[in-house]
C-alpha cells in the first residue's frame, strides 16, 4: 500500500489554475522527485503537502490518514527550504532543537537528540555558532539537521541545492542520497534540475503547467519518455528530435530523415504497430546513441551510418560532443574523446536505433 497518496489535487490562485488534478502515489521509504520548469506547480504541490498552501480540492493521505485539515505542525512532516530558513537569532543547536522545544520535549532529551543528529551530519563543532557565521554548505547541513531531528513520517525538500556552487552541489547531492539509503526515509524532493532528479529519485514525476506529464523510475523516464516535453526536459545534452517520414517497402518500414528520401533508417524496434505510409514522425535519439563507428554497441540490432557535416566540436574530457548538420537539420552526437573529428568536414555518424523513440508530431506523445 502507498504511504503517501496525492489524490486529484487542484489549486486555483485567483483565476489561474496552478495544479490541474495531480495524482501521485509513493511507497514507504521512497524518494519522489517532482521536476519541471519554473512555474510548473511543483513548489505549490510541495507546499500543499506541507500544509502551507491548502489545495482547492483533492486529498493528501499519509499512511492511511487524510491530513488535508491538519495544521502543518501536526502533519508529522519536516521541510528543508531553498533558503534554508535558519532562525538568524538562534545558534545552530537552538535551531535544531526548536521543533522539539515547541513540542515540549524535555531539555535533556532535546540535547541528546541534537547531539545525535549533529554527529550524523558532522556538524558537532558548529553547534554554538549562529547561521550568519556558517558557509552555504554548513547552513544546508544544519537545515537538514533541523528536519532529521524530528524523525518525521515524510521529508519535504524544496530545491535544497540551488543556492550552492556547482562542486558543493554534487557533494551535498551525494550526501542526501546516502542519507536516504541509510535512514530509509520517505522523501518528496522538488527541483528544476533534471540531473538531481535522475540521480536521487526512486520515482520521478515530471510536471508541466500543473499537469503530470509522466510518472516513473529514472530509467523509464529517460529511456521511454511519454512525450516530447519529457524527452526534451530530461537528459543533458537534450535528446535529438529529428523530423522524418514513414516509408513502407515490402512489409518492412523505415523512416526517411532530414526531408531526404535518400537518407533512411529502419523503423526502431520499439515501434510495434504498422504506421501509415508517408506519416510525419519525430525520431528521438539521445546523444549517446549517435556515435563514431567504434563506439557502436555490438549487440545493436538496428543501426545506420549517416555522413553529415561537423559544425561544432565540444570536448568534455571523458568524451566529445559533436554537432552534425545535414540538409538544414542539426543533431548532437557523443563520440569517444580520441576520435579525429574536424570542424567543417564530413564525418560518418553511427546511429543506434535500438534505443530510439518515435513521437507523433501532432499530439507530441510517443508512438513507440
Amino acid at each position: 500500500m502507498s504511504f503517501l497518496e496525492i489524490k486529484n489535487i487542484r489549486k486555483k490562485i485567483g483565476n489561474v489554475e496552478i495544479l490541474k488534478g495531480i495524482n501521485i502515489d509513493l511507497e514507504k521509504g521512497g524518494f519522489l522527485v517532482l521536476v519541471g520548469p519554473s512555474g510548473c506547480g511543483k513548489s505549490t504541490l510541495l507546499n500543499a503537502i506541507a500544509g502551507l498552501l491548502p489545495p482547492s480540492s483533492g486529498d493528501i493521505v499519509i499512511d492511511g490518514q487524510v491530513i488535508n485539515d491538519l495544521h502543518p505542525s501536526q502533519r508529522d512532516i519536516a521541510m528543508v527550504f531553498q533558503s534554508y530558513a535558519l532562525y538568524p537569532n538562534m545558534t545552530v543547536e537552538q535551531n535544531i532543537a526548536f521543533a522539539l522545544e515547541m513540542r515540549g520535549v524535555e531539555k535533556a532529551q532535546r540535547e541528546a537528540a541534537v547531539k545525535q543528529v549533529a554527529k550524523t551530519l558532522q556538524i558537532e563543532h558548529l553547534l554554538k555558532r549562529r547561521p550568519s557565521q556558517l558557509s552555504g554548505g554548513q547552513r544546508q547541513r544544519v537545515a537538514m539537521g533541523r528536519a532529521l531531528v524530528r524523525q518525521p513520517r515524510v521529508f519535504l525538500f524544496d530545491e535544497p541545492l540551488s543556492n550552492l556552487d556547482a562542486k558543493l552541489r554534487v557533494e551535498v547531492r551525494a550526501e542526501i542520497k546516502a542519507l536516504h539509503q541509510n535512514t530509509n526515509a520517505t522523501i518528496v524532493y522538488v527541483t528544476h534540475d533534471q540531473i538531481e532528479a535522475m540521480t536521487l529519485a526512486t520515482k520521478i514525476v515530471v510536471l508541466k503547467e500543473g499537469m503530470v506529464q509522466q510518472v516513473g523510475t529514472p530509467a523509464e523516464i529517460y529511456n521511454h519518455p511519454a512525450n516530447l516535453f519529457v524527452a526534451d526536459f530530461m537528459g543533458s545534452p537534450a535528446m535529438n528530435m529529428l523530423k522524418g517520414k514513414v516509408v513502407s517497402a515490402g512489409g518492412a518500414q523505415s523512416i526517411s530523415l532530414f526531408g531526404n528520401e535518400g537518407v533512411q533508417v529502419t523503423m526502431p524496434p520499439s515501434v510495434t504497430t504498422i504506421l501509415p505510409e508517408g506519416k510525419d514522425v519525430i525520431l528521438g535519439l539521445r546523444p549517446e546513441t549517435i556515435t563514431d563507428a567504434g563506439l557502436v554497441d555490438p549487440d545493436a540490432r538496428a543501426t545506420a551510418q549517416i555522413a553529415a557535416d561537423v559544425i561544432m566540436v565540444e570536448p568534455t574530457g571523458s568524451d566529445t560532443f559533436v554537432t552534425g548538420k545535414l540538409d538544414g537539420a542539426s543533431f548532437t552526437a557523443r563520440t569517444r574523446s580520441d576520435v579525429q573529428v574536424r570542424l567543417g568536414e564530413k564525418f560518418p555518424f553511427s546511429f543506434n536505433l535500438d534505443k530510439a523513440v518515435v513521437f507523433d508530431p501532432e499530439s507530441g506523445s510517443r508512438i513507440g
Binding site: 506541507a50 500544509g51 502551507l52 495544521h71 502543518p72 505542525s73 512532516i77 519536516a78 521541510m79 527550504f81 531553498q82 533558503s83 530558513a85 532562525y87 538568524p88 537569532n89 526548536f98 521543533a99 515547541m102 513540542r103 550568519s132 557565521q133 533541523r146
Partner: protein, 293 residues
Amino acid sequence: MSAANETVSAGQARVARYFIYAALIVLALVYLLPLYVMLITSLKSLDEIRGGDMLALPGSPSIAAWVKAWGEACIGVSCVGIKGYFWNSIKMVVPAVLISTLLGALNGYVLTKWRFPGHKLVFGMMLFACFIPFQAVLIPMARLLGLLGLSNSTTGLVMVHVIYGLGFTTLFFRNYYEAFPDELVKAAMIDGAGFFRIFWRILLPSSGPIIVVTIIYQFTNIWNDFLFGISFAGGEGSPMTVALNNLVSSSTGVKEYNVDMAAAVFAALPTLFVYIVAGRYFVRGLMAGAVKG
C-alpha cells in the same frame, strides 16, 4: 600622461574635501551656537546677563540657576521647580513609547506575515494617521478622553500618544518585516510555533535596528510634544514641555534668563540621552547585518 592626470585629480579631490569639511564645521558651529548660549547663560548670574555680552563666558560659573530651576522656580503659582513635571513626562513617555512600539511591531507582523483580505486598505488607513495634523484631532480626542474618564490624566495622555504614534510605528515595522523572509515563518509553523511564539521567538529578536529607530523617533516626538500636553493634561499633571512654557511665561518680578535656560536644558537632556545611548546600538545593529551578510 595618465599619471599626471591622476595627481591633478587627487589634488583636486583633496581641495574639495577641505572645502566640504570647512563647510560642515561652519554649519555645525551655527547649529551649536544656540546650545552654547543656553549653557553659558544658565551658568551666569543675572547681573552678568544684564551686562549684555551674550557670547562671553561666565565670569564666575555657578549652578545656582540649575538648582533653582529643578526645585524652586515658580511655575504658575506654585514654586516647586520643574522636577515634578520632569517625572510627569517620564511617566508619560516610557509607557507611550513601549506600548506604541510593541503594537507597531505586532501590526507590522500581521500586515506582512498573516495577510488577510483587505490588508492593504487597513495599512493605508493606518498610514493616514501619519498625515492628520494634530490640531484636527484635538476636539474629538478631548471628547473621547472625557467619555473614558481620562481627561487631565497621564494615562489619557499615554493613550493619545500611543494612538497617534501607531501609524508611524506600524509603517516602520511593516517595511522592515516586508523584507523578512516568509520561509522563516513557514519553517517555524512546521516546527510547531504558534502566532505569538513566532513573533516573540523569531521576528522580535531579529528586529533590533528597527526597534531602536522606532524608540528614538517615538521618544523624541512624545517627549517634545507640547500641543497634546497642554490640551489634555493641566496643572500638576502637565508634562515638561508645558511646564517649561509656564515657567518662561510666568511674570513675577524679574525675568530670570539663567533659570529659564537651565530648565530648557533639563527639558532637552532626555532626548539627547536617548540619541547618544540608543544611537550607538542603532549603528551597531546596521553594521552587524552589513558585514556578516
